[in-house]
Symmetry: C2
Subunit: 668 residues, 2 copies
């Protein structure tokens, strides 16, 4: 019954198909990703807005609705689509549970609505409507004839009433009455009914879009750099991390580390005695991806850490790095998962220009890998999920096959819809977007290299627009073990505050790698890498370091939790400030009940001042209106009067301002 629009223009449209082809056009349904090939991103509890362009020939009125259900659900829910004008329609619905959701748009010609519209207008204009009344009666009878249920009788009674001798006025009133209109609606007579193709949403739990990530190397939580830290040491660090307001605690790989070609400090080709090696060289005599590095503790210790972290409000995220040290058990046990070179070796990993001599990669398309390797990798994820890990940061997903990710994520999420995958890909835009389309809940981003006002404005805006907004959630990491940003190497403490504010306010997802909070920035000369990187050696830090920014980080995370507008990268709008060193943007909830204005000076050294536009128009207010402001970093409140305002930012105090805007109560 449902006719949809699918048809390839290469097929001949014969007359039989033509007369049965849909009369109504449905176009531009949003959200959709690649024409419906992928699911668009959505969240539980947040209204999902669907828009479409719907029209037909002639002047008849159309009606339309939205229908949706979880893909494994039998029952369809429906929501009305409202005509916004100019053929644009909009509807909304909310999902309570994480699931893959299917939705369609339906439309039909609303004959009776068209009739009522015309009848009402003509009657009001004093035009004779005798014939129209007869047409109305015929419409009622027609629909009653097609109906079989209890409604039939009601419609026939109305038709009979219209037919009876009485003044036109009474008949018109009856035909336009709510009772008749409702009965006609119940009859669901839907001439020229059309239904769109199914489109899909991946509805995830809120942490997919709102979370503050903190990364640390568990082995560096020992009292000093001579002692290998343990999961028990990590437990001791939890209060410090939680006080800063983070809610995700992410560890680089915690598995045994190989010894063959083990890297030494600062990526030295040969490790010295006692060097721990890179945790990314996964696997050794003690086991592979399913095992735990013995010096970190036992599985029991890990489970205890996960439990205690959760008790304190922190969720543990693990690294999923599909690579092996040459000592990984798979190299011996599953040799046909690797591609061997003619000289009997396996090629080591490269991510040009970087070389990883201590790592070999599996070959996803080797004859022996299909499907065993794929299944083994999926089972590894499931194993850690069973151990209580529901978040995975995936290392370099763009160097593994796209269909592998699509399958793995779908498979895992069908069993555990709460699992979240973060893509650690730094590559070209098409691949960045594609990973999101395939199912990664969130992704590393270009944020780390967006420093100027122009760069930031462009990037923050782009992420709010289609196609990005439907397929990609950016996790703004201010640093990572691999990225010691040039800006921070020279910026001093104010620079760290600048980047923290940009990340924490710019996106619902932000991340920090330990050391940032004490403004660590010593670099390999000329490189964007840390000196004495923890990737290759143990490290001990004094987090009570004078000049740390822990309190400011705690404030940022506190403000994020208190303000829904800050719990997503969406709803961001750039505003005018007449100074190229100051970025000004707003974040708002759709209903404007929460509106935050963020001003960040990008200059860590000098005071900057400027006039700026207070976005009164967003509230429908005139340029001379009053607006309440509250500084969320220090609690001060005030009232602004008028659109043009002035600010001064002194980076040695605080290089940014975060202001909540509130419509002042109307004075009576």
């Amino acid at each position: 019954m449902a006719r949809d629009e699918r048809r390839s223009p290469g097929e001949e449209l014969d007359i039989d198909r033509a007369v049965n082809a849909p009369r109504i056009a449905i176009e531009h349904i949003e959200p959709q990703v690649c024409g419906g090939r992928f699911a668009a991103k959505a969240l539980v509890e947040r209204p999902i807005t669907v828009t479409a362009v719907i029209f037909a020939d002639g002047h008849d009125k159309l009606s339309a609705q939205l229908k949706w259900r979880p893909v494994d659900g039998a029952h369809w829910h429906s929501a009305p689509l409202l005509h916004l004008g100019n053929d644009h329609w909009q509807g909304k619905f909310v999902c309570e549970e994480p699931a893959r959701v299917e939705f369609v748009v339906e439309a039909w010609m609303d004959t009776y609505l068209s009739f009522c519209d015309e009848l009402g207008k003509k009657f009001s204009a004093g035009i004779d409507v005798e014939v129209e009344i007869m047409e109305g009666e015929a419409l009622l009878r027609q629909v009653a004839r097609d109906e079989t249920d209890a409604n039939t009788e009601i419609l026939q009674q109305f038709a009979a009433a219209v037919a009876r001798d009485s003044p036109s006025k009474n008949k018109v009133e009856l035909l336009l009455s709510k009772e008749v209109v409702d009965a006609m609606r119940r009859a669901e007579s839907r001439p020229h009914y059309i239904r769109s193709n199914s489109l899909y949403l991946e509805v995830e739990r809120r942490a997919a879009e709102f979370a503050s990530w903190y990364e640390l190397f568990p082995r560096s939580t020992g009292a000093d750099a001579t002692r290998h830290g343990t999961f028990a040491d990590v437990v001791k660090s939890l209060p410090r991390i939680r006080e800063m307001g983070f809610d995700v605690l992410y560890f680089p790989p915690i598995h045994p580390i190989g010894v063959t070609h083990r890297k030494g400090p600062n990526n030295a080709l040969c490790a010295g005695e006692g060097n721990p090696g890179s945790p990314y060289a996964i696997g050794g005599d003690e086991g592979g991806h399913d095992a735990i590095h013995p010096q970190l503790g036992t599985l029991k210790d890990f489970l205890a850490l996960v439990t205690e972290a959760r008790r304190q409000g922190l969720e543990v995220a693990l690294d999923f790095a599909i690579q092996c040290s040459p000592d990984h058990p798979w190299v011996k046990d599953q040799p046909d998962w690797f591609r061997w070179r003619p000289d009997g070796t396996i090629r080591y990993a490269e991510n040009p220009p970087k070389k990883y001599e201590d790592i070999v990669n599996v070959d996803f398309y080797a004859a022996g890998s299909i499907p065993d390797l794929w299944l083994a990798l999926r089972d590894l994820v499931l194993l850690w999920v069973e151990r209580g890990v529901k978040m995975f940061r995936v290392d370099n997903p763009h160097t593994k096959p796209l269909p592998f990710w699509e399958w793995l994520i779908e498979d895992v999420r069908r069993r555990h819809p709460e699992v979240i995958f973060l893509a650690e890909a730094f590559t070209r835009p098409a691949m960045m977007a594609r990973l999101g389309k395939l199912g990664f809940s969130q992704s590393y981003s270009y944020f780390t290299w967006r420093n100027t006002k122009d760069e930031l404005q462009h990037y923050l805006s782009e992420l709010n627009q289609r196609p990005w907004r439907d397929c990609y959630r950016p996790n703004f990491f201010v640093n990572t073990p691999d990225i010691n940003p040039y800006f921070l190497q020279k910026s001093g403490r104010a620079g760290f505050l600048i980047r923290a504010a940009l990340a924490a306010m710019g996106s619902g997802l932000w991340g920090m790698y330990s050391g940032f909070e004490i403004c660590e920035a010593a670099a390999l000369p000329g490189k964007e890498e840390y000196l004495d990187s923890e990737k290759y050696q143990l490290k001990a830090r004094n987090y009570a370091f004078d000049g740390n920014i822990c309190a400011e980080i705690a404030s940022l995370n506190r403000i994020r939790r208190a303000n829904p507008a800050l719990q997503t990268h969406l709803g961001l709008q750039i505003y005018n400030v007449w100074n190229d060193n100051i970025l000004l943007f707003g974040k708002r909830t759709e209903d404007l009940s929460n509106f935050i204005l963020v001003a960040v000076s990008l200059d860590p050294r000098h005071a900057q001042e400027a006039y700026f536009e207070l976005p009164l128009w967003e509230f429908g207010l005139p340029d001379d209106a009053a607006m309440g402001g509250e500084d969320l970093m220090n609690g001060h409140s005030w009232t602004w009067f008028g659109k043009i305002q002035w600010m001064r930012i002194e980076p040695w105090r605080l290089p940014f301002g975060i202001w909540r805007l509130t419509r002042p109560k109307r004075e009576v």
Copy 2:
């Protein structure tokens, strides 16, 4: 064998499908209209550019190509796709004949290209490549093993040569040699081959995008307004029209006109004695859409006119108006093609707020209409095609069903690919675009109501962008019998020149309704309609009227014919001119061999002057470069020096300038 990307995210991706799913991604293929649901517009002889985003995991090199064929053709043509960088690929091809064309994008991993790239780099860097050489030999043997043809032997010989004892340098040179690379390419080993969905192009003859239309009422070509003009009179008008440079001559309906409810002068509800009625009230005792109004002449006269027009370089276009006067033979002969009201009448036509009491409409979905009415209408078009008419202006297509047009146009064009349909729809944007998607070659546009610089800039630019550029060709009519633009009612002669220049330069298609060339503008007071409209009465004009703009129109059409850049609405770019009364735009062919700069003052009364930017950068020239200019309206030539230039436009002389830019010959 061909794997494409189609998959709905609602389907489960099991492991077998996953390992066989395409490894390579192809996205954003352009042109495509509504995800391939409709054919994109293209022209014979003009290169068709196809772009796509193509990428895969990892660092292997990809190769890609474009394949295309007429939908009824067996043989595929192919063209290479070149990598422009950042995963963007581009290819071009040309069609010689009008046809519906199918195309696909194919990609695969180019293993040997990746190998050569790495081998060359390593060898140049002095790295030992013994293992790489062995890998190269293995690659040759591998491909030879999969091959069965003559190429096999060649590849085996190369492999053997690589295996022989000789210096590495020789082996590397052999592996990288053109002979080996070509043999490998011939072998067409294409791991991870993927092919896109088919997409479609409607390739039409050039007049679909480049033509100058002239509209007249044949009955008004008599010597005076008392004598009904004839086709023989039209023949006498041909030289005058052709001298102005038009190439399409379009007539409103030429069929018999009904007498019931015939309209009188100025849309009077009742015609007086001898009033000819509206030609849109089609059909009477003398026949319907297949007949010719007896006062215009016979079919023989019409055929003679078509032939003589063609001899003089004018193609005749007819109106296809699907509506009937109450006296149309169908009303009696095919009563079940109409919807009868309860009082035994047929509702007259409305196009709110306009009422057409002298017209009734067929009902496309009446039980009796399916499919007879649809076939009858198609046959009418075919009848007139057989009578030599290859262009149809379709009246109000947006009030007839969309599938009807899609079917009719496809059916007619499959038999006669040269037939052109012009959609006369003035309605909301989605419908305007949809009619183009369904197959209308060209369309009336909003041009008539775009008057200010801002409006014109926006509209001209929008038509150059997707989705419009792929589905919609605008025919810029400066006036029509239904539209006497407010601007022209008050502008005087200069205003007519302004609108003619904007239309003729802005689009490859422009149109004029007779009277425009003598600046006719008398209006029904307060309305955008002509006083004493020809729609309801005979009219006689003195085309030799002093102050006519025939010479300027002739120049515009001459310039259009001489400059390929002006033969399309595409390739238009707005440029800076610091005066809100002057619009400045450029039109260029893709190769820049033809570059026209058009400046139009929008002020018909006062002189306007301004500095403007000469677009030297488009030619890759610095801001201080020299550029040749030629005024195409008067033949003057000069050289500009530098980017910032000045202009002055005096509307009483000529309110616009048309300059051809030519790169000055380099001095030796």
